[in-house]
Amino acid sequence: MFGIISHKLAASTAGGSPGQPILRAAVLAMMSNYSTATKQIMVREALNSALDEEMAADPTVFLMGEEVGEYEGAYKVSKGLLRKYGPQRVVDTPITEAGFTGIGVGASCHGLRPIVEFMTFNFAMQAIDHIINSAAKTNYMSAGNINVPIVFRGPNGAAAGVGAQHSQCYAAWYSSCPGLKVLAPYSSEDARGLLKTAIRDPDPVVFLENELLYGESFPVSDEVLDSSFCLPIGKAKIEKEGKDVTITAFSRMVGYALKAAEILEKEDLEAEVINLRSIRPLDRSLINNSVRKTNRLVTVEEGFPQHGVGAEICASVVEENFNFLDAPVERISGADVPMPYAANLERLALPQVEDVVRAARRACYRSVPTA
C-alpha cells in the first residue's frame, strides 16, 4: 500500500507542485520509521535491484557505459544485468564519454530511456556538453516537442586516495543548470526510491552516487523493497529531528552529519539533520521551515565551497527567513584546493565529523569563531 501511495506522490509532484501536504507529511513520517525495517541491504544492492526492476518493467530502459556488461560493473552495481537482459540492453561502451553520452541523449529523443553510467563523474566532464546543451536544454528549446528521459548516473565526489583528477564533486555545477534534475541518495532506501523515480522521469536526471557508500548497509522496510517504491524528486528528508540547529547534507555527508548530531546530543544540543536527496530542485520549503524552527543553520557538502550547494541554501534562507536566523549561517565544505593524494592532506581537504560539530557549536554560540 505504501508503495502505491509513494508512486502516486512521485507522479503528482513531478512538476514541482505543492501536492497534498498532509498526506505527504503522513507518508514521510511513516517512511522515516526505520524501526519497522526487517532487512539490511547495501547501497550497491539497492541500486542493482532498482535497475533490474525498472528494466524488467519497461523494455525501453537500457543501460550503457564502460564495463557495465561483461565486467559486471566497475563497482559491481550492474552485476547480473547483462546475463538477464542481454547485450542490446546492457551495452559495454568504449572509453569515449563524449561519444556515448551523445548517443545516449540521441536515443532518448527517439523513444528509448537510456541510463548512461559514468565510471565516475570526473569522466563525465568529457561529455558535459551533451548533458547540458543536448539534454538539459532541449525540452525548452523545442517548446516541449522533444523531451529527454535520460538518467546520467555514477559515483561522484571523493573516494579514498584517488587524487585531484578523480575526486571532484559536481553537485553544484549540475544543479545550477535549469532543465536538469539532480539527485543524491544517501541510504539504500534513497538509492532505490530515487533511482526508480529518476528512470521513470521524463526529464534528464543527474544521479550522483558515492563510491564509498556502495558497500554500506542500511535497514530497509518491505515498502522500500516493493517494486513500485519511488521517492519524489524535490523532497528532502528529515533524518533526525531537532530543535537547536539545522544541519543540511547530502550523500556521504549525511552520515557525517548524523554522527555529529550524536556528539552534539551529549552537549545538550539537538541538531535537526536534513538529507537533501534532491539538489535540483532543492526542497527550499523544508529547509526554511526547519530553520524557522531552529534559527541556526550549518550546511555540509564535500565539494568546493565557492558557488557550492551550501552557498545556495544560505542564500535561500537569508532571502526567505532572514529574521529567523539567530546566528550567521555556517558552511562546511571540501577545502578550496585540488584534492591532494597524501593521506594527511586528503583528510584536511575533506569535511570531518569534528568540523560539523565545531560549526554547529559556533552557530549555537557555544564557542566564538577563531577568525
Binding site: G99, P305, Y341, A342
Partner: protein
Amino acid sequence: MALSTHRTTTALLRHLTPAISYLRHISTDSTSTITVETSVPFTGHKIEPPSRSVDTTAQELMSFFRDMALMRRMEIAADSLYKAKLIRGFCHLYDGQEAVAVGMEAAITRKDCIITAYRDHCIFLGRGGTLLESFSELMGRKDGCSKGKGGSMHFYKKEGGFYGGHGIVGAQIPLGCGLAFAQKYKNDENVTFTLYGDGAANQGQLFEALNMAALWDLPAILVCENNHYGMGTAEWRAAKSPAYYKRGDYVPGLKVDGMDALAVKQACRFAKEHALKNGPIILEMDTYRYHGHSMSDPGSTYRTRDEISGVRQERDPIERVRKLLLAYDIANEKELKDIEKEARKQVDEAIAKAKESPLPEPSELFTNVYVKGYGVESFGADRKEIRAALP
C-alpha cells in the same frame, strides 16, 4: 638510483676460456656494433618501414637488461606495498611493458618530451626519476616527485622531459601534441612522444589533435601501447578497427613488437627522424601487461591465465634480452642473476628510505594552487577554522 646512462668503456679480451671466465667483466668490446634482427618485421601504413636489423652494442643490451630488471622489480614491489595498504587509491602497474620505456629512451634525448597516462612509474624512471622519488610519491610522502600530493597517476619530471602522469583517458594526447606545437614554435629540433593505450585510441580528442598535428606538421609521435585490453574490455570489443597504427588514416603508422626493446628503439629512432621532417606518425607497440588494469582488477576475469603465462613464457621483454646477452656471450647466467639481485636490493633500499620519509606538512595543503596566488584567501573544510593566504 637513476638508471644507467653512463657508459663504461672497459675494453676486454673477447676470447676467454671458461676456466678464467670469473675474471671477465660484464662488458666485452662494449661499444662495438652488434646487429640483431627484431622478432618480427615492422608493418607500415602509408610509409616504408625501417629495416628489422637493429644496431646495438653490448653496453646498450646490458643497460636494457639492468633498467628493465629495475622497472620490473619496482612494479612488483609496488604490488606488495599496495596490498600492505601503504599505497592508496589507484595503482596501475607496467610490468610486461618495460621494453617500450627502455627502447624509447635509447632512441631519444632528454630534450625530447614524453607524456603518458596513468601507467607512468617506469616511464618516469626512464626519464631520470629515482626509485626514492617514485616510492615516496606512491606512499604519499614529502620526498615524492610530486611532494606526495599527486600520487601514482601524477608523476612528473619537466627537467627530464617528462610531462606526466594523467588520470583522464585520452587527455594526454592533445597535451602531447601541444608539447610538439611548442617544440616547433621554438624550432628546437626535438620531438614529443605521446603514449596512450588501446582503450584511449578511440577517443575523439585523439583524432582532433592528430588532424591539427598533421595540418601544422607538428613533431608529434603518437605511441599506442596496445596491451590489448582497455581495463576489462578486449580491443575487438571496443574498436571496429583494432589496427591502431592504421587509424591515423592520412597519418603514417608503424606496427612494432613492443616486447622487443630493440624493435622499439628502431621504431622510435625512425619516428623521430620522420616527425622532424614530415610531421606526425603513429607507432603501435604490441605489448602486454601482466597485472590487471589496476590493483583493484584481478586481470583474470576477462583474460585466461594461460594467455598471461603464455606471453610471459614466449615474449617477456627481459627474457628476450637475457637470451641475447647469453647468446652473444656478453654475460653469463650468474652475472645476470646478480644484476637482478642488485635491482632487488636497490628497490628494497629505496622502499626502506621512502618509508622513513614523512608525510607532507599540513601547510602543503595550500601550496602550488597557483604559481602566483597574490595572497588570495583559501579555506579548509571549516572555513572559519582553517584559512590561508595563497602564496
